[in-house]
């Protein structure tokens, strides 16, 4: 009854945000790639909020773009609102956030996939992994098709043994009432992978015509929007506003009266939910003294009347959800179109992965996205692009590419997952990055375009443009060091106007630009650049000069630790054999099998003394190995 359905280099299972990036990366690197999905209408679907970006997440989108991924380009084509957040703070935490036309977003992505060379998109439910000699060699679908490949990437999101919960109601389902994937979970367990049960949730959606917008505050987009992709220069997308309202005392009363029907508290939910994305009932119980909570009303697209009710994620019964909605100012007469729900699903314990995202127990099998215990489209896409790159490289017999923590949020994300694991769905935060000032969204292209180019996902034309930007920025900084501004009237007038102290002596432009009140446009008036610089380049020049002191401090830290990161640990090391290691360290190191001393030092329970001992052991090992020749 089964049949041979084809031979590929790379198979990607699941066409969500991780799967799309993985498949596109692999195909663009020249691998014959199959992208399998349970339902072709769900490619790049946004089952939760119709938005992309924000702090840390927006940084990741720009990093994906610098690596030649698709998410940035796709959202630039399909946004219905663009806002730069945190503009009152330092440049490292400025963050772009877009509202997406969620239907246009998925259709645009689907079309890109369909038109990509070497990429086959097919509907099918993967049920079993094909393993020969311990290594993954393909997949068998529900319809009996056997697809073979050199490497397989699993990006199943919340579909694995998915279960939807609303109040007393509970049923097996993927997100948005899709078919769940039940048998694949079993197949993974049989291969020796440890799974955990996580939980997430989504709020109800309501009909636009039943919202009284007069009772809410308008939240418009930016007049001059910026974009995610380095390639996007212009957009004429019409922008739609979002709307802000708040929960009322009545809302809190309804929730408190119905807590006995809340699965979160009745014990019906067994999965661990994320703390940063609690349901409304959770918020009201844990922060009982907070009189009201923000609710954002967000349009889901131009050709739909559905509005997403941000801040109201809930698994309360349907009738209670409606009562809650109608207790909120502006929503008194609202019609609920989709009910909110909680969803439980299986995830792979991510410490079972190498930093390349390949599983340790099943060679040639990679996992990315929510299956690895993360949450968020951007976190998924970031892992997806890396898993796609590394699955393709493995199929091509090349070494994996690993982004360092000092190179990008993608590096922080993956290193955290594979080194420390996670006890709840993992969300990126800027505070997870120890080098936040280096990982700015304005320099994502400078940080990662060279890597994208080496991998082969960034073309010659874009790379040349990138190099030109880099060169112009460097030259402009050099120039500003040498040009002088005299303590003359026009300069003094400008400084007085800015509330900045007058110049005592002739000074160079760079020193002047270091003053917090002074920016590039002020300096430019007196000493304009001989070549035409784009706004992007000017911004870069200004940031690099203004924050040089802090940037330098972090660079020194990176430099200090880089030796640790570069010190490789041979993969055949037997930790039980390392005399002097504490037993907890032996066990953790054996489990994680870190690739470098740097990674080893980040494992919880491995002390500095253990690291010293490991260093001495490695030195001994290397000298003995060298002596043997």
């Amino acid at each position: 009854m089964g049949y041979e359905a084809g031979q590929f280099d790379v198979i990607v299972i699941g066409a969500g945000h991780a799967g799309c990036e993985a498949a596109l990366a692999a195909a663009r690197m020249g691998c014959e790639t199959l992208l399998l999905t349970i339902n072709l209408d769900m490619v790049a679907f946004m089952p939760c909020n119709p938005s992309i970006g924000g702090p840390a997440k927006g940084h990741v989108v720009r990093e994906i773009d610098a690596l030649g991924g698709e998410m940035g380009r796709n959202i630039d084509r399909t946004f219905i609102q663009m806002r730069m957040l945190n503009t009152g703070k330092g440049p490292a935490v400025h963050a772009l956030r877009a509202q997406a036309d969620k239907f246009l977003y998925q259709h645009t992505m689907k079309k890109t996939i369909e038109e990509t060379e070497h990429l086959t998109l097919r509907q099918g439910m993967a049920e079993e992994l094909l393993v020969e000699n311990g290594a993954c060699v393909g997949v068998i679908t529900k319809t009996g098709a056997t697809y073979r490949a050199k490497t397989v990437v699993l990006t199943t999101g919340t579909y694995l043994r998915g279960k939807i919960i609303m109040g007393e109601l509970m049923y097996e389902s993927g997100p948005n009432n899709q078919q769940p994937s039940v048998r694949l979970s079993q197949s993974l367990k049989e291969l020796g992978l440890e799974l955990v049960r996580f939980k997430t949730g989504t709020p109800p959606r309501v009909h636009k015509d039943t919202i009284d917008f007069d009772k809410t505050e308008i939240q418009p987009g930016d007049e001059n929007p910026k974009f995610f992709s380095f390639e996007t220069e212009y957009s004429d997308n019409e922008q739609l506003p979002c709307w802000l309202t708040y929960t009322s005392e009545e809302t809190h009363r309804i929730i408190n009266d119905n807590l006995h029907r809340a699965p979160m508290f009745s014990g019906a939910i067994e999965g661990t939910g994320p703390r940063y994305c609690p349901s409304i009932e959770d918020k009201i119980v844990r922060f009982a003294d907070k009189p009201k909570h923000q609710i954002f009303l967000e349009p889901e697209g131009k050709h739909t009347s559905e509005y997403y009710v941000q801040g109201l994620s809930t698994s309360m019964p349907e009738d209670v959800q409606l009562q809650i909605l109608r207790s909120i100012p502006g929503l008194e007469r609202v019609e609920m179109m989709r009910t909110g729900y909680a969803i439980e699903y299986d995830a792979v314990v991510p410490t079972q992965l190498w930093p390349s995202l390949e599983t340790k127990v099943v060679p040639n099998l990679f996992t990315a996205g929510q299956i690895n215990g993360t949450s968020g489209y951007e976190e998924a896409a970031g892992q997806g692009v890396m898993a796609g790159i590394n699955a393709a490289r493995k199929a091509q017999g090349k070494e994996p590419v690993i982004i360092e923590r000092s190179q990008g949020y993608i590096g922080v994300l993956i290193d955290d997952l594979v080194t420390k694991g996670t006890s709840e769905p993992y969300r990126l935060l800027t505070s997870r990055a120890e080098y936040r000032l280096l990982l700015r969204h304005d320099n994502a292209d400078l940080r990662l375009t060279p890597t994208g180019y080496e991998i082969g996902l960034i073309g010659e034309e874009r790379y040349a443009k990138f190099q030109q930007k880099k060169q112009y920025v460097e030259e402009e900084i050099e120039r500003l060091k040498s040009v002088k501004l005299k303590a003359e009237q026009p300069v003094q007038d400008m400084l007085a106007e800015l509330g900045s102290a007058p110049l005592q002596f002739t000074t160079d432009a760079l020193t002047l630009l270091r003053r917090p009140e002074v920016n590039y446009s002020h300096v430019e008036r007196f000493v304009p650049s001989p070549v035409e610089l784009t706004e992007d380049m000017k911004e870069q020049v200004e940031i690099q000069i203004k924050y040089a002191g802090y940037i330098e401090k972090q660079l020194i830290q990176v430099e200090r630790l880089s030796k640790m990161e570069k010190k490789r640990i041979p993969d055949n090391i037997d930790y039980s054999d390392v005399h002097g290691l504490a037993s907890e360290a032996k066990q953790k190191l054996t489990n994680i099998r870190p690739l470098s001393i740097g990674q080893a030092s980040r494992i919880s329970g491995v002390t500095p003394a253990d690291i010293s001992i490991l260093l001495v052991y490695l030195e001994h090992y290397n000298r003995v190995t060298a002596a043997r020749g």
Binding site: C48, N49, G54, P55, L85, N86, G88, K89, G90, V93, A95, P203, R275, Y276, C277, P278, S279, D282, K283, R286, F287, K290, H293, Q294, F296, Q310, G311, S313, L429, T430, S431, R432, E434, R436, L437, P516, E517, Y547, Y550, K553, Q554, R560, K563, M564, K567, H579, G580, S604, T607, P608, A609, S612, I613, L615, V616, Y617, E619, H620, R623, V624
Partner: protein, 460 residues
């Protein structure tokens, strides 16, 4: 070479009299030492293996702190194969401590980890392969020892106050982080005046801690010395005799109400933390039993044990029990009451303990105390007693870290004042928080994330 940073530690045992040597190793050894050293020649240009006479000077006040000899050894011709500087100061707790503190406060040197000089020597090829295992054992044992010392301190007042201080800072940090990671969330906007106010509070508390630290009230130091023996052999009289003559570093330490009496004395220049224990014997009395249990615990923790025996009586069953328990520990046997005829079986004791560690004395007639002093000094300088310098060094480390944390907060306040955005100021506050964490051996980034989610109600 793995090590880019510069480390320092006291290389000699700590005590009064003689000299003490601080060893500094790493690329900054010479330049960092030069910051606090004044002499006729400039040591920055000094050639290898030269000795320089001069003064340690506090660069902030220009005050002369110590008169020292400084030796420069350039890598690879040194113990660690790195640039090494040795500062030879007058012996004694105060002098060497001040010099080390001053060096650490310059910011370019950190205190060495246990066994780190040896580790570096090995990694840089100065120690041969056959000794790898010995190097590992050294790191392991020193770390474990340092860990247990740190654990003891974790229960102390310093630790409580540092924890409170860190808690205030992590609340501030969480507030800053929420402003950054949830820009649209309705929490109060973080203002520079708020950061300033919180930082000032923290700096004031650090100043109070540093003041008490210099008075020696919090940072206890000394070899933990337990006085044990069965009841009425003269333990308390011994303690009183030692305290009366030598009462030195600190007194009035909380804890004296317990059944274990604690006193600090300096004996022959060596700081001791004396614990007078309840007499150890088999008993059915419940109250006495508690005292005996505590005495046993004190005995287990002690770095040095003074075992008092009544010379005027034959050895008894309780004596033998103690003798069993003391096997392998650093012990000095005190044959007390030698003003009376000696009937205790001294041959039995001589067979069980090292002959040089048995001291005859009479507390009543104040005889033999000099001999006790000498034996302790011999053991100390002979390397048999180790804890004191570990406790000691970790205290210097604490003071250094407190100074660094204070400086980080001041940097942060200056940055806010000049209009630097909060996410950059956060770097300074976070550094201070981490430095304070090192004082109590606790620094994990995850606890900040925990704080964010417990302090603020976030979500979609």
């Amino acid at each position: 070479m793995m090590n880019q940073d510069t480390i320092a530690a006291i290389a000699t045992a700590v005590g009064e009299g003689g000299i003490a040597v601080i060893r500094v190793s790493g690329p900054g050894a010479v330049s960092e030492s030069a910051k606090i050293f004044r002499s006729k020649s400039n040591i920055a240009d000094a050639s290898s293996h030269t000795v320089h006479y001069g003064h340690i000077v506090d660069p902030q006040t220009d005050e002369k702190v110590e008169e020292i000899l400084l030796t420069v050894m350039r890598g690879p011709r040194s113990f660690t194969a790195e640039d090494v500087v040795e500062l030879s100061t007058h012996g004694g707790v105060v002098a060497v401590k001040r010099v080390l503190e001053l060096l650490l406060r310059q910011g370019g040197v950190r205190i060495a980890e246990p066994g780190e000089f040896t580790k570096r020597a090995f990694l840089n090829g100065r120690i041969d392969l056959a000794q790898a295992e010995a190097v590992i054992d050294l790191i392991r044992s020193k770390s474990d020892r340092a860990f247990s010392v740190a654990m003891k301190q974790a229960e102390g007042t310093l630790s409580k106050r540092v924890k409170a201080l860190r808690h205030n800072l992590v609340e501030l940090l969480a507030h800053i982080e929420v402003n950054i990671d949830y820009p649209e969330h309705d929490v109060a906007e973080m203002t520079s005046s708020y950061i300033r106010e919180k930082s000032e509070e923290a700096v004031a508390e650090i100043d109070r801690l540093l003041k008490t630290a210099s008075e020696g009230k919090i940072l206890r130091e000394g070899i933990t010395t337990a006085i044990v023996g069965r009841p009425n052999v003269g333990k308390s009289s011994l303690l009183n005799a030692l305290v009366q003559e030598n009462k030195a570093i600190v007194t009035d330490i909380a804890g004296t109400t317990r059944d274990v009496i604690e006193e600090f004395v300096t004996l022959g220049g060596i700081p001791l933390r004396l614990l007078d224990t309840a007499g150890i014997r088999e008993t059915t009395d419940v109250v006495e039993q508690i005292g005996v249990e505590r005495s046993r615990a004190a005995l287990t923790d002690a770095d040095l044990i003074l075992f008092v025996v009544n010379a005027a009586e034959p050895l008894q069953a309780d004596d033998y029990k103690l003798i069993e328990q003391l096997g392998g520990r650093p012990v000095i046997v005190l044959l007390n009451k030698t003003d009376l005829p000696v009937v205790a079986d001294t041959e039995e004791l001589a067979a069980r303990f090292k002959p040089e560690s048995i001291v005859r004395l009479s507390v009543l007639q104040e005889q033999g105390l000099d001999q006790l002093e000498k034996v302790i000094a011999d053991m100390f300088f002979g390397g048999e007693l180790e804890s004191a310098d570990l406790t000691y060094v970790s205290n210097v480390r604490h003071i250094g870290l407190l100074h660094q944390a204070k400086q980080s907060l001041i940097d942060g306040m200056e940055a806010t004042a000049s209009g630097i955005p909060i996410d950059l100021v956060q770097i300074d506050v976070r550094t201070a928080w981490e430095q304070l964490g090192e004082v109590i051996g606790d620094s994990v980034a995850e606890s900040l994330i925990d704080q964010i989610f417990s302090q603020f109600c976030l979500g979609k």
